[in-house]
């Protein structure tokens, strides 16, 4: 898939709309899931996701072929999420996000509510590592590349995050 991504990105740099559409379709779910784990508020997360894809379109030539296109894309999303947090880009407090989730009621939603509460107690770095590795299927190496952190740090974040989330779910990790 990464070879396809590199070919798509090269086509985007040449001005191909079809390639840009394909790139968005391929990665929008994972990017938005990642940002929803970092930023409180679905609209804020989606807004940052849109900015991320715009940055990919504008700065596609900045990808030098080191690492995967996916990791490079997520590194852009990560930087934008951190900038948004620094600017105090919180339109919804965590309690509002909890209420949003609580409007469901199925067992899966109960797990999601517990996870959401537990995620809120993690640091931003830990949340990012957990969502990438446990939610988006990244390897620790790829997550480290996306977050600009050492692999050991990412593994440590995932381990602590997993323990906290498992405790919230009432299971032993």
């Amino acid at each position: 898939m990464d070879e396809d991504d590199a070919a798509l990105l090269a086509a985007v740099c040449e001005g191909s709309d079809r390639a840009f559409n394909a790139l968005i379709d391929r990665h929008q779910q994972a990017v938005r899931l990642f940002l929803r784990g970092l930023v409180s508020g679905l609209e804020d997360a989606d807004d940052i996701a849109q900015e991320t894809f715009l940055a990919v379109w504008r700065h596609g030539r900045a990808y030098k072929g080191r690492g995967s296109v996916r990791a490079w894309m997520f590194s852009i999303a990560w930087r934008k999420a951190k900038d948004a947090q620094r600017l105090g880009f919180r339109r919804r407090r965590r309690e509002a996000a909890y209420r949003e989730l609580a409007s469901g009621g199925s067992p899966a939603t109960d797990d999601a509510i517990a996870l959401e509460q537990a995620m809120a107690t993690l640091s931003l770095d830990q949340r990012a590592a957990v969502v990438l590795c446990l939610g988006c299927g990244f390897t620790a190496a790829e997550a480290a590349e996306a977050l600009g952190q050492p692999v050991g740090t990412v593994k440590s974040h995932v381990s602590r995050g997993r323990a906290r989330l498992a405790e919230a779910l009432g299971v032993q990790s």
């Binding site: 840009f20 968005i24 938005r32 929803r36 784990g37 849109q50 797990d111 959401e116 446990l134 997993r162």
Partner: protein, 104 residues
Amino acid sequence: MSNAVDERIAEGLMSRAPARRDALFRLTVLERRERLRFRRQAGVMVATASCLAALLGAGLFVRPDMALAISAAGLAAALSIGAYAYRPALVRLARPLRPLRRFF
């Protein structure tokens, strides 16, 4: 055990995921991209027109006896810039004339 926990965590995280294909999101990104393109093009046009106007003004100030020539040059430059900016539209307009190429 750890795999079962990870699966449960993944399932909980994925419950917040958007749809795998979301045309509305893609269209919103494209719309923002077009707005960005328009702002850039408009900025370039305004800057170019301002430079052209300044040059013409300076020319007329320095050589008022050549007002006609300077104005003609200014008009030609403005038309060239306009043709460059709107070339996709001009190409579409010229398409019906393609069959006439065989006469040249």
